[in-house]
């Protein structure tokens, strides 16, 4: 019998290079990178204390120049690039610092819900008799609106990041569970998984080695979408006054405060709204691009 040489088939184009070729990954990634930089460098971007109240400069339009006394009583010129709100706080500083809250909420929500969802999804997909029980419970969780849950949580705990994150995580987890479960159910039928069973690979190792790697790409994609949704929901909750307490600047809080004088001073809502929209757009574009590259089912057919 002829000894067949392993044919060198054309190497797979690395995922990284494919990512670099996708325009939506590039644009989305760029926007997200800019937002992260803004959030990280907030104190050094010419901002003032975002909580500083100054009654003398209430409701000023963008570009307002003023001379105010600092803590030591010296007069310093200040430029309010994006104007001030009804308490005389600098909108620019508040918006920049608000990016921190939004990104932290988005990131923690997606990390927590992916971790919990992955764990429950693997269990549901692998332990058949638990599947029905877990999934009905998940259906129940999905029926709880995040906003109602947030109202409940705020009345039990105090308003704050913890309550907001929890309120968003709870309805997101079942979506991750469903995704992971469906991947597990299809992968466990693969002949290579069955081969691993027949060579006696213990179940935890089997899941870790053969099933888990298949969930990574879809979970990265799902994670970005959860992140975008979480940023939006946080803004909504803060806007409604059931999210982050008003002394912490978040985009939702800024808009909530600007709401009453919206007709006269639209900048109070315009700028945080713009940042919110651009951030969510960026994260979503990143997620879309990642899905095109990482999820072969969505691959364009030529």
């Amino acid at each position: 019998m002829a000894v067949a040489d392993a044919t060198p088939v054309r190497p797979r184009v690395s995922a990284f290079r494919q990512l670099a070729r996708s325009t939506s990954v590039l644009i989305g990634g760029f926007i997200v990178a800019v937002m992260v930089t803004i959030a990280a460098l907030a104190p050094w971007l010419g901002t003032r204390d975002p909580a500083e109240v100054n009654p003398s400069v209430r409701n000023k339009l963008p570009g307002y120049e003023a001379t105010i006394r600092d803590d030591e009583g010296k007069k310093v010129p200040v430029s309010y690039r994006l104007g001030t709100d009804s308490l005389g706080r600098d909108i620019y500083s508040r918006v920049v610092y608000g990016a921190r809250v939004s990104l932290i909420v988005g990131l923690t929500v997606s990390l927590i819900s992916i971790s919990i969802g992955l764990l429950i999804g693997l269990v549901a997909g692998y332990i058949r008799w638990l599947d029905g029980i877990i999934m009905r419970f998940m259906d129940g969780l999905m029926a709880i609106p995040a906003i109602l849950l947030a109202i409940g949580l705020v009345s039990v705990f105090r308003a704050g990041i913890f309550a907001v994150v929890l309120a968003i995580v709870v309805p997101e987890v079942p979506r991750v569970v469903r995704l992971v479960r469906s991947i597990v159910l299809s992968i466990r039928e693969e002949p290579y998984v069955e081969s691993a069973i027949t060579v006696g690979t213990p179940t935890p190792l089997l899941i870790f080695r053969h099933v888990l790697p298949n969930t990574v790409a879809p979970l990265i994609v799902q994670g970005t979408f959860i992140c975008a949704a979480a940023i939006l929901i946080e803004a909504i909750l803060s806007f409604l006054g059931i999210g982050i307490p008003p002394e912490i600047p978040t985009w939702g809080n800024i808009m909530a405060e600007g709401r009453t004088l919206f007709r006269v001073f639209p900048h109070n809502i315009l700028y945080p709204g713009l940042f919110l929209a651009v951030t969510v757009l960026g994260v979503n574009m990143l997620g879309d691009g990642l899905r095109d590259v990482l999820d072969p089912k969505m691959e364009r057919r030529g």
Binding site: M1, V3, T7, A196, V199, T201
Partner: protein, 552 residues
């Protein structure tokens, strides 16, 4: 059959390919998908284009129909003449007029080729609606006529059925009806029976031959199966790597091919006549007794409970050094039996003895030490290895599970790679760097690494090309002798079963209808189903490579 091709030569060819060349996109494994392909199809003639995967036979069919995937393959040279008219570079609207009217195509997968949400009558009538001015009532009548002509039972009610209500064979008949309703001069059939069971395949082949003879249609029949070629072809075109290797009449190609490649292919076709084998008297490695697997659906909240018997009272013995085949069509339960024995599924009742232990009812934790005794090689070589892990990691996974050190396991894996005919230093490569046949060798090496008593080959050669199939079968036979292995060979292919199995069991609807030494069963089948199965085997009664000198 000879008359038909004579008649064809009088009227001139309806399809003429001359120097047809289709380029592959850059970075492919060769420049052209097909290169200077020239042959013709006469009126009322069936021309089989035969070749292994990657030979360009399907691309040839797509080129003729103008269905080359856009942006990937492009016609770069040559001419296609349909009834004397050049159609290689005509516009899409003109091509559309020809499709369905003058030439039409049937595909391999009758389920995906039919629209699942449209009634079959509407799908057959669609071509009439596009190409003829007939009224709805006239169209319906025509559809009913053609459905009767392709022997669909009860056309009057079936015309309003949806595809999922039909069997695979009936769907393929619907496809043929849709293809023939406008009486095209050319019918292109791309592996139309490959997805069908052998008895259904025989009926469809008969139908195509009948329709072609009655209507004088020229048929371009793409296949990889020499049995089918022997059954239906007038003339045969053999292709390899995108080039035509040999063209000849059916008898020339099948009994005395000239080209070495064709000779090699013909020699690789397993004969339906089993060799005489000595009865095996060594110890029993596997014995099942009254093995049952039933599936229940419905039940609680879901209406009436339905019970399906996937396998019923299956009793099989396999001795060391012996190959026992389970033969049957899809749904016969042969794979269920294999999966029960490998304990990938839990049998409902019965016993499975491996050596002295009954593994049928052991819970997973107590079963694990016994798993090494039974190993399985699956059908699909592209899915049976984890694409993310190196071949070496896949092979040593089992031995390491059982306490062997990684170094020792690697050493054993190297030996096994050599044994299955692969380079030992290829262990650190990934599965996608190997061809299908090579991956199947790796799967065999992985199974052997466990030093099993029983090797289950579940359609292990069914997805392979005939020449590769012959090599893998030889390898399986080799390791059986070398390790005194018991082999349980699951297949739907009677030719393969005849060549490799000492004994066979024929299954139908979950029941073993007949079992015995291969020689006896092939010589004098007793059960009517076995009879029918053998009668349907394509190319029965044809001796492949008869005119060739025996190879030493």
């Amino acid at each position: 059959m000879q008359d038909a091709s004579d008649a064809a030569s009088d009227l001139g060819p309806i399809l003429e390919l001359d120097g047809l060349t289709v380029a592959l996109p850059k970075g492919g494994d060769r420049r052209n998908a097909i290169d200077s392909v020239s042959f013709g199809v006469g009126r009322g003639e069936i021309v089989c284009v035969v070749g292994e995967s990657g030979s360009g036979k399907s691309v040839t069919a797509q080129a003729v129909m103008g269905l080359l995937p856009k942006g990937q393959l492009a016609l770069t040279g040559g001419s296609i003449k349909l009834e004397g008219r050049e159609i290689a570079n005509i516009s899409q609207p003109e091509l559309r007029k020809l499709r369905g009217q003058r030439m039409s195509m049937i595909f391999q997968e009758p389920m995906t080729a039919l629209n699942p949400v449209e009634r079959v009558g509407e799908q057959i009538g669609e071509v009439l609606e596009i190409h003829t001015p007939l009224s709805a009532a006239e169209r319906r009548q025509k559809v009913l006529d053609i459905m009767a002509a392709v022997h669909l039972p009860d056309p009057a009610s079936m015309i309003d059925a949806f595809p999922h209500q039909l069997s695979g064979g009936q769907r393929q008949r619907v496809m043929i009806a849709a293809a023939l309703v406008l009486d095209p001069v050319l019918l292109i059939a791309d592996e139309p029976t490959t997805a069908l069971d052998v008895t259904t395949q025989a009926q469809i082949l008969k139908l195509i031959a009948e329709m072609q003879a009655r209507r004088g249609t020229g048929v371009l029949f793409i296949t990889h199966d020499f049995g089918v070629v022997a059954e239906i072809a007038h003339r045969v075109v053999v292709m390899q790597h995108g080039r035509v290797v040999e063209i000849g009449s059916r008898d020339e190609i099948i009994t005395r091919p000239r080209e070495p490649y064709t000779q090699m292919l013909i020699r690789s076709v397993p004969s339906l006549h089993p060799p005489d084998r000595k009865p095996n008297a060594s110890t029993v490695a596997l014995s099942t007794d009254k093995l049952c697997k039933t599936y229940a659906s419905g039940g609680f909240l879901a209406g009436k409970r339905r019970v399906v018997k996937a396998a019923a009272d299956v009793t099989i013995d396999v001795r060391r050094g012996e190959t026992v085949g389970i033969v049957g069509e899809s749904g016969s339960g042969k794979t269920t039996v294999a999966r029960c024995i490998a304990r990938l599924i839990q049998p409902t009742s019965g016993t499975i003895r491996i050596g002295d232990i009954d593994v049928a009812t052991l819970p997973e934790r107590r079963l694990r030490p016994h798993r090494k005794h039974v190993q399985i090689v699956f059908q699909d070589p592209y899915r049976s290895l984890n694409p993310r892990r190196t071949v070496g990691a896949s092979i040593i996974e089992g031995p390491v599970n059982f306490g062997l050190s990684t170094d020792d396991a690697m050493r054993r894996a190297k030996d096994l790679m050599q044994l299955v005919g692969l380079q030992p230093d290829a262990l650190d490569r990934f599965p996608h760097q190997f061809s299908g046949g090579q991956r199947q060798r790796i799967a065999i090496a992985r199974a052997l690494a466990m030093e099993p008593k029983l090797l289950i080959a579940d359609e292990a050669v069914s997805a392979l090309d005939v020449s590769v199939q012959a090599q893998v079968l030889a390898l399986l036979d080799d390791v059986r002798v070398r390790f005194d292995l018991a082999v349980l060979f699951i297949t739907h292919d009677l030719r393969v079963a005849a060549q490799i199995c000492d004994r066979i069991a024929v299954m139908q609807n979950g029941v073993v209808v007949e079992a015995g030494p291969t020689m006896e069963i092939f010589a004098s089948p007793k059960h009517p189903y076995t009879h029918a199965l053998f009668a349907a085997a394509p190319g029965r009664g044809v001796r492949f490579g008869e005119g060739l000198k025996a190879v030493s």
